[in-house]
């Protein structure tokens, strides 16, 4: 399992073979609170980096989830439809959102590493 990379929109990215797995960070799920519904992108959709392509709904509010990198959506986490609380319980594991086949894998390397993301969260507090 490769290291996690992060965005300033509070997504994480993990390379998994040819695909990049994407979810929201523990910080993000904690800020959102109890997740009750997620809207996931269609498999096959081409997305640009920074494009809103999923929605996560907590009791209180709806928030967009953005594609951290450009590419094609190749899989979504069907388990979230039945059990959206997985996002709260295991945000970096079973609570993953979707997988993208990257247009340019170098885009992943350019994202924030864990320490840089932690500094960013700190600066926002």
């Amino acid at each position: 399992m490769s290291e996690l990379k992060f965005t300033k929109d509070h997504e994480w990215v993990r390379q998994d073979g040819d695909a990049a797995v994407i979810g929201i960070t523990d910080h993000a799920q904690n800020a959102l609170g109890d997740v009750v519904f997620v809207e996931l992108p269609e498999v096959g959709r081409e997305v640009a980096a920074g494009e809103a392509c999923a929605v996560v709904e907590s009791v209180k509010a709806a928030s967009d989830v953005y594609a951290p990198i450009a590419g094609r959506v190749v899989e979504v986490n069907a388990a979230l439809a039945e059990d959206p609380a997985l996002i709260n319980q295991d945000p970096a594991g079973q609570g993953w959102f979707f997988k993208i086949e990257p247009k340019d894998p170098a885009e992943i390397a350019a994202l924030l590493d864990e320490a840089a993301y932690a500094r960013f969260v700190e600066s926002e507090a």
Binding site: G33, D34, V36, F37, E57, V59, A62, P84
Partner: protein, 368 residues
Amino acid sequence: MAEPDTLLETPLGGLHRALGGRMVGFAGYAMPVQYPAGIMAEHLHCRSAAALFDVSHMGQAELRGEGAAAALERVTPADIQGLKPGRQRYGLLTTEAGGIFDDFMVANLGDRLFLVVNASRKAQDFPLIEAALPAGVTLRPLPERALLALQGPAVAGLLDRLAPALAALSFMGVAEAEIGGIPVLASRSGYTGEDGVEISVAADRAEALARLLLEQPGVQPAGLGARDSLRLEAGLCLYGNDIDETTSPVEAALTWAIGKRRRMAWDFPGAARVRQELADGPARLRVGLRPEGRQPARAHTPIHAADGGPVGEVTSGGFGPSLNAPMAMGYVARAQAEDGTPLDLMVRGKALPARIAPTPFVPHRYKR
């Protein structure tokens, strides 16, 4: 949202932070939206045991003097003169154009009336009321008092132990009492659909009272997030969302808040519009909505007729933890307002099928 350093504090600000409350700006106050347990747990705990809310941001005031009830009737269609001592009533402040200026609670304390108005409207409400008062009737805002809401099925047992005078109250009853030696003014009411009390207490005793209540078995703190999901399940309006100066009492399905005597005299602000809408039916009505599936529809979501054009808008919407399903309220054209009518909620441009549903979504459990 206002900058944190411009927000006002309630007398319980320190306690909220000590309890791990996540503070947000609301109506100019720093308020806890939730504690570490989270909105879902706080909501469910209120329905199964008891939740303590700080609602000190709301506006409290007393109205004294000969003819105070008649004077208040100049700005509301509620029957204030018929309100018996020891009883509280829900009322609306109405505009000359027939809109809703605010909603409020009024209690008859024998020698005076006691009012609670919305935090977001108190700066407008008090001058409006004052302008209607004759000589000899005075309105005194009570910024030196805090307000706590203790809500849930465990409250009755707690009152039996701590405040027998309050245990005897039925829904909308009001009494002065002591809780643990602290003088309070309490009403058997709330904003959750559960049995409970709203407790007015001197600001300098508020934290001691809150700590005493939180020590009682079954009592947990709850924030504004749970307060909102609880009131929506109970079908209760939020001023600024579901009612405002553009909505009339008839459109808002709050005709019951207009006194019978007032509906014969038509002597309140906006009476012409109310009278016309009662006679001819309003153009639109506030309704409950149940979306299919689990996806919530939020405020401002357009409502379309099934396979048709726009017929209204969602004014409050979210997920009901006790309902275990999404729920909303909003306004639709009268022809679409029948229970069971299928409609589409246009969430992010896509039609989410829903039906008009009766409210409350979760039955009230008031003490009758």
